[in-house]
Symmetry: C3
């Protein structure tokens, strides 16, 4: 309890969470990680997965989570759908809603689409990533993974986290900043000035365009994915230039604190944002992030679709 309304209408933004609700979700994820793989917590629930952008890890992670809770998932392949015939998003979504499902997991390139869809349909909607806006299940699994490595959520307080790369276009960065802020971590946003966020992007954070200068201070380095199209848009001069200044090379890795942890939302393209040897090192939490994603999404689905408690 504690927060205004909980997640009974859906979960589209980290802004819906206060610290108490976030802790409750993470505690629920821990119970799912420790518990039996399968349960009948959502036995008659039907959830449609609407992915308007391609995705492997997030889509499968949500589907596995739903299945393990006993729910039924309905897969909607946007490529094969009538959207390619020119049908509007609203019509597609209302059609799926008409089938009488209990809710939707939505990924869309349109910022705000999940909440809009919840309004249109009256259905519960879980955001699996909307444009450059929010990716709240990713932020929660990152918090989970960090607290697992550090031993407690309390250890996040005062932790120095550097988020590196294309901040301006990153729903991951935005959601994670809000999540870290709840637990008192100190965030530094690192990247070229052209990829820094506009004012009002999220909670206050330090900014730096000099990764090298920050290295010695960071407890956590969170690397974002760089999309090729940023070059064509003139936001970065070349990949070579980007790698030279912002990639976590082996050389930079050696200058980090010994107990530093490395995170990345995946998929990782070794040699771009990070050296392949670094990402394979034991300080990297990439595999843990993926594994924990299922537990965190079970907690989210239970909070949104379950009968009892996690409100």
């Amino acid at each position: 309890m504690g927060s205004d309304g909980g997640l009974k209408r859906g979960f589209w933004s980290m802004g819906q969470l206060d610290r108490e609700l976030a802790e409750s979700l993470l505690e629920s994820a821990r119970r799912h990680a420790a518990g039996p793989r399968r349960s009948a917590i959502l036995p008659a629930t039907e959830i449609a997965a609407l992915f308007f952008e391609t995705s492997t890890r997030t889509r499968v992670s949500f589907e596995v989570a739903a299945t393990r809770l006993g729910a039924t998932t309905i897969h909607f392949d946007s490529k094969a759908s009538s959207l390619s015939k020119g049908e509007s998003l609203q019509d597609t979504v209302e059609t799926i809603a008409s089938f009488g499902v209990d809710g939707l997991v939505v990924r869309s390139s349109a910022a705000g689409a999940p909440q809009l869809i919840a309004d249109w349909t009256g259905l519960k909607v879980v955001n699996a990533g909307d444009g450059a806006h929010q990716h709240p299940s990713q932020a929660l699994l990152d918090l989970y993974t960090l607290s697992e490595r550090l031993g407690s959520l309390e250890a996040l307080s005062g932790l120095r986290v550097g988020i590196v790369g294309d901040i301006a276009h990153s729903r991951v960065a935005r959601s994670l900043m809000e999540g870290l802020n709840l637990f008192g971590a100190e965030v530094t946003l690192i990247g070229p000035a052209t990829l820094m966020p506009p004012i009002g992007f999220g909670p206050a954070a330090r900014m730096s365009s000099d990764f090298d200068e920050c290295l010695g201070d960071l407890d956590v380095v969170y690397l974002l994915r760089l999309q090729q199209e940023r070059i064509g848009q003139g936001l970065i001069p070349s990949f070579g230039e980007y790698v030279a200044r912002y990639s976590l090379t082996r050389e930079r890795y050696r200058r980090l604190k010994p107990e530093v942890v490395i995170m990345h939302p995946g998929p990782v393209y070794p040699g771009m944002e990070v050296d392949s040897a670094v990402i394979a090192d034991e300080s990297s939490l990439v595999r843990s992030q993926t594994r924990n994603g299922v537990f965190v999404r079970m907690a989210i689905l239970e909070a949104v679709f379950g009968e009892g408690g996690r409100e």
Copy 2:
């Protein structure tokens, strides 16, 4: 009972139904609408969905219906299949049949494919749309939705239904005409002469190329989807011309009877066959059509694959 053979071999055409059998299916659909969402009516049934044409609403509607009856569906994605390597339809279908499934739900661009496939394989086949031939589950859900709005099936007798658009190429129109004919409705086919059906298309119906002239007489306006390729084929001069004469604009809508109902098989492209404000009005049954599709398809699957009764 009542009709010759029932649907135990499959359901590929409205021509298989007499009034008694149609009523029985619609009554079964009403029981599914009123009953619990899930049952174990088809507990060990395996149904393969073979969609050789893309579809969202029909495919998902059948899959949801099958799942709610306790059946297992096997999804066959024609894009990823060996058909793209040159395999013949017959070989693909016989392969699926060899897996030992109980039956198939088939959508194909080839008129007559479902019955042919039933002959080839000996399996039960449900037609989810075959070329310009038949779309019987759509016709049944339209009858269901109309009778739900009107209060009874008897109210269909003498009802004046205008089907508007590309009649000649429409499996929806053909199946619906046969269905309406069973219950004594009076059908007027409305569209440009180039899109009127050939002789022998279906039950006798009035025809008109003047939508405006018909407006005041209609109790139901059923709008068909217009496919872009009709222009390239020289069957209509332009979309603008079509909209000017056959689109249900707000202006035409005002000249309809106050109690008129508007139907469309979806997907709707607002501004083409119908104005977006009209399709969103309460006289529009579009959402009801989609919702009822699941109940009607549950009734069809039960009649085809079930042990007892609905023959």
Copy 3:
């Protein structure tokens, strides 16, 4: 028991089988063919299907087999995946493994990928075809189908089997040769010299470039699929030339022994490797091969993922 280790780590090559283990798998397949369609042999097992090459029959066959054993399958569509964004195979595979599944069914164009993936992930991996290397479930279903027709596995001893076509690039040929060798059949590889395998391809076998000369001696004609790209590669001059010398035409069919059996792994393109009347004849086992594929794959999945016995 009997063989070193059984299949508890996975099944990627016919080389893992001795005669005793092969017999045990085929006996298990017979029990599945005779038994009830559904069981709860693998009630809590989660198996991800990773098909990096398109496939209908093999993918669906494995999914049906898994479902009938009570397992859950997770479908990974390589087209929609992050692989298209440039993610490496290893990263994709490790991501799927991170979800906590029990194992993978993998098809890949890379020879050796299944065993590599088993090493990377520590998960059980079943090979559904890897490049030109191995297709062991196909070989087992072929052995099953042959012994079913002949009445026993013992009848394979001394049986004269001609494998016809593109031997060099065929994982089917390689696995089948190893399987036939276990049971004492005599294999002749038949095809143009440019499509004959290199030394060390598999067990010793006779080779011939003269199909006509071999016809009278063969008890089994196993036709391989010919891929169009072989022409572009200069390995065969034209389809016409190939058909003239290596297609099982009606004329050649008449010169075979009366009790000969015809096999083909599918999909069959009539008129290329074989005449359509021949493949439809009762001497053709093509449909039986597909049907038996499900039973054999149930046996394989039970051996790999089951608690008890088939080691």
